[in-house]
């Protein structure tokens, strides 16, 4: 399975993260997204006429939507990541998978504006990002009241992985996460998962080491 990947792209990171969590080995093909704009090259446009990355290629199957890639990886290697299959949980997973596109458009747009100087109405992007974060916070609060720690279930699903990266990197676009205690707890829960991997700007939950002893002869 080959992933056309850019290390700073939160959408590409979703796929790398999902593969790591389900133990799937990906062949990584780095794409010079910036400054080379290689995703618009004839080779990549032939694979994905939309000119976006990530692209996941598995024999005859070419996927260009990150949500579909998460579902593909989960269905292959970790069906528990698709939810329990009850109508309610299936719908909740789909709800947040679709919602994740709004995070990409708003928080992702603000981040591209601030980091790569992409044109855009930054105030509007940030306002839309805050509106999306408030929805996510409210959803997580309600799940907490139902005794569940994640968006669709008490265990993480593809929905959490689809939403997590753009949320965690919101401060890159000038949108602070301080006002959202539910989101902060959720982010900690995801960063503490077994086999979690990092990307620049998103670090794992560190275990606190004991106090380092003073070296003898120092001071």
């Amino acid at each position: 399975m080959k992933l056309y990947d850019y290390v700073l792209s939160p959408s590409c990171y979703k796929v790398r993260l999902m593969a790591a969590l389900t133990g799937v080995k990906l062949e990584i093909r780095p794409v010079d997204f910036h400054p080379g704009a290689e995703h618009r090259s004839p080779e990549l446009m032939a694979l994905n006429p939309a000119g976006s990355i990530p692209i996941l290629e598995d024999d005859d199957l070419i996927l260009t939507e990150s949500a579909a890639m998460l579902v593909y990886l989960a269905a292959q290697a970790g069906p528990e990541w698709l939810g329990s299959g009850t109508p309610e949980q299936t719908a909740r997973v789909q709800q947040w998978l679709s919602f994740s596109h709004r995070l990409t458009a708003s928080l992702g747009g603000a981040r591209l504006h601030e980091m790569l100087l992409r044109p855009g109405d930054i105030a509007k992007l940030q306002a839309q990002g805050i509106a999306a974060l408030r929805e996510l916070e409210s959803g997580l609060v309600e799940q907490g009241l139902r005794g569940m720690r994640f968006l669709a279930s008490d265990r993480p699903t593809v929905a959490d992985i689809a939403c997590f990266p753009y949320v965690a990197l919101a401060p890159d676009g000038g949108v602070p996460l301080d006002p959202y205690p539910g989101i902060r707890l959720w982010s900690r829960a995801i960063r503490g998962l077994e086999h979690f991997i990092e990307m620049p700007g998103i670090h794992r939950l560190h275990e606190l080491k004991s106090e380092p002893d003073a070296e003898p002869g120092e001071a």
Binding site: R134, E142, P179, P181, E215, E218
Partner: protein
Amino acid sequence: MPARTPAGPIALWRSQSGHAAASADRCPHRGMRLSHGFVRGEALSCIYHGWSYARPGNCLRIPAHPGLTPPETIRVATHEVEESGGVIWVAVGEPTIQPPRLEGLAPLRSLTAHAGIAVLEAVVGAKAGPEGLVWQAQNSQEIRLLLVPQEDDHTLIHVLLDEKSSASQRVAASRAIESLRRTAEYLQAKGIAS
């Protein structure tokens, strides 16, 4: 974590044994925000050079000088903290009264609104007292709001509910407070525009 009181920004932390503490959000060494730091055991350590402070604010350790017992004069300003019923109260200056006992109430959630306290009071139709703001929501639940002014006309709202509320009542209250925030923010924006 960072928090705000009317006296300014603070670092609010909980020691390993479970005691809450509040200090000025500024390391006396190089001015780094202590809320960026980390808690190890019973001490809060600055992320910059690792100077660590006990709950009363005295400096316990300076890693660059492991043999040195830090003098008493190195200390961070602290605030009195009282925790009751799931609410942490931080005193601004010397506390003159005990924080109110909010008997029978349990914390639901905390959220921030881009609206001042006066606007929130107007929407609720009541004034906030020492025990917070009592809101009779449309679905006839009584919701208690503790309001903390933040910067730039923002207000931090701690929402409390009857501790005997059912899960669906809690979800309904969480949604009701979102509606209250929408109304208050609309009025706040309109007030500034007019």
